[in-house]
Symmetry: C2
Subunit: 412 residues, 2 copies
């Protein structure tokens, strides 16, 4: 049997040098043509999507996943609009500092693409288009391996995308879609050293864990979010109520939603009954001290404080002071997003300096950790590691640097 996965990776790898050395205008043109193509090919894409939906329903997919899978003309227009935004972003390649050395050589530090990027993600057709556009923007070839329920939609989208690349004079092989959605294809992508230069898993905890355990290629871990809100004793209580409410309930299924509430013991007796009344839809699970104030709620286990519920559940812990809050967070969090609600500058400074996370908030909902909200225009994911990229990753996270040195015969 032909090794289709390897053939696709090799084709992408061979096409990469042309994309890598192309001009920003040409890459932007290709992305705008992708947007045009998706709109033009909408009927074909919707037809493929209808088949995906039919298959998924026949296989008994959960209703919550159907919403992510389903495409409409309006959604395709939305995807095209987001691609046009990517095209309008500054070129992440080239540019850079230039400096001269005493021996007369001139050093220029430029940004260059990484190579072949593999992205493993859920059954979300919009990610297929977004990821392809961000990779083309940053000069990288990509191999896209989405969830099986969306495979026909992804193939249809990639057909349009590849046509647009060709129309723009760029090699269509730069964007590849993996039609084999078995676990084997995923595991192979994790271990194709020398072929796959970077793997980005986007999805649930089980995927991230499989990647961390098995991958031998470089990986950027994304999206694990055990986030906390700490209501410090100098907090404005009304603001704290709204920030906790928004951080927990505005979209509980996402990684920047809050999972644990920490409340300073000095204000716990006042604040805890109020927050319980403010969010009746949320199940609270409290530590012993919390239970003394809210005796009717479920007791929290140590396991609760490590859990990313992604649901209308929140763990609650009363802490003696900011140091206990910081220590609890650093021991339990996933280094994603953490919030202190306080009017004390000293408390805010201590918290932001000592809490170890990609994003540390003072009096702002944790829900803002997002490439668009940060002003990056688009994101390929939210890195929870410290290596290479941290926090929301825009196109620049998909680049590395290169030093170019010019001279006239300098020797050492």
């Amino acid at each position: 049997m032909a090794d289709i996965l390897m053939e696709k990776c090799s084709a992408a790898k061979s096409a990469f040098p042309v994309l890598a050395t192309s001009k920003g205008e040409q890459r932007n043109k290709a992305i705008n043509l992708m947007a045009d193509a998706l709109v033009r090919d909408a009927a074909l894409i919707l037809e493929a999507n209808a088949k995906d939906l039919e298959n998924a329903k026949a296989a008994g997919i959960r209703t919550s996943l159907i919403d992510r899978l389903v495409l409409t003309e309006a959604r395709i227009n939305g995807i095209a609009a987001s691609l046009r935004k990517v095209a309008a972003l500054p070129d992440p390649l080239g540019g850079g500092e230039v400096w001269d050395r005493p021996n007369g050589m001139r050093i220029k530090k430029v940004r260059v693409p990484i190579g072949l990027i593999a992205i493993i993600y859920e059954a979300r057709p919009n990610v297929t288009a977004d990821a392809a556009a961000l990779c083309v923007k940053s000069g990288n070839a990509c191999v896209l391996r989405g969830g099986k329920e969306a495979v026909l939609s992804s193939v249809a989208i990639v057909n349009s995308v590849r046509g647009a690349l060709k129309e723009a004079g760029l090699p269509e092989d730069c964007v590849q879609v993996v039609e084999d959605t078995t676990r084997e294809s995923s595991n192979r992508l994790m271990t194709l050293n020398g072929v796959v230069d970077l793997l980005i898993p986007r999805g649930g905890r089980s995927l991230i864990r499989a990647v961390v355990d098995n991958a031998t290629v470089p990986v950027i871990e994304t999206g694990a979010g055990n986030c906390h809100v700490y209501v410090e004793k100098h907090a404005d209580m009304d603001m704290a109520l709204e920030l906790v409410y928004n951080s927990k309930t505005s979209r509980p299924s996402v990684c920047n939603a809050t999972e644990t509430l920490l409340v300073d013991s000095a204000v716990a007796a006042d604040f805890l009954p109020k927050i319980k009344a403010r969010m009746p839809e949320v199940e609270l699970r409290g530590c012993e001290k919390t239970l003394k104030i809210l005796p009717d709620i479920t007791p929290a286990t140590e396991e609760d404080f490590y859990t990313e519920y992604n649901d209308y559940i929140m763990a609650v812990k009363v802490v003696e002071d900011i140091e206990e809050a910081i220590a609890h967070i650093n021991a339990h969090n996933t280094k994603h997003s953490e919030l202190i609600v306080t009017d004390s500058v000293a408390a805010a400074d201590r918290f932001t300096a000592a809490v170890d996370a990609a994003a540390v908030y003072v009096n702002v909902s944790t829900r803002f950790t997002d490439g668009e909200e940060f002003g990056f225009g688009a994101e390929i994911g939210i890195s929870t590691q410290k290596f290479h990229a941290r926090g929301p990753m825009g196109p620049e996270a998909l680049t590395t640097c290169k030093y170019l040195i010019n001279g006239n015969g300098q020797i050492r």
Copy 2:
């Protein structure tokens, strides 16, 4: 038996938060005090070094390694001077861009340290001091595991270093030296996930390979250098002679020395006899076309073109054009340093765009790939990977970022 390695790592990890949140002045003060301490404690350090030398000679160490191992008062003064340079460098922590979002929240991107850095290196006492200083500079705790021949010297140096940290009011446990220099201690450091945040191997190919094969913690690969000089047909032949000579022979044992010479076929008949005459101390190993011009030299095998000789040996290949040169380099190099000698702007542009390496030179010796030569003040190594850091790594390569977001109750 007590697990001394884990105890040291845990002590460093516990001390890290204090160092991480310390002010730059205090870290610089500590580094200057380290320099003072090394000079003050020179007699003790030299005594330890003499014992190391005695043991090494008894064990039959190679003469070439003795030069790296031996300390003198002058060398200790040199180490102290390089530490004072590190102290004088700008603070790699904090700072960063600040921007406001339409909802009124302010985002600040700051640089923060990574955590506990393990460094595995050869029997070079100066690396012990340099690495400790660069880690303290960047707010990182470190565990230093040098080669066994220098262990007493390293322990003596770290004693002085830790005393200086204490004197500066910083936790001395931030710097740890591993006295167990068995392979086991090295292998354990590679797999202490959750404890060691970053591993930097410095040393020969066998160490780098062991780390790449075995490490499960994040790694920055350093120092593998299969570097090329390409003499393009528009090269100034005199300049080319001197650049090849310098790149190959000024210090053949180091990673930025050149290993392979590529010569354009249009100038090969003229250039090859000249370069052979220019460097009689170098053994040339040629491809078939080279042998037609220089029939007396050794034939090169394909293996030769993958070999980092670190010696007075150079592989030579005649190429038809720049595209063959680029293809050969990208297929054989270690992504370290590559040079084109040419007077053609078009050739220089094509070469620098298409060659995949940390440093790409036009008419400058490959020997300049070095933190000091690049103006970074100091280096912890030269990264040959694309991830996180590439090329010479100054203190900033030992940092990551963190987003601090301030507001007044913004919700999403």
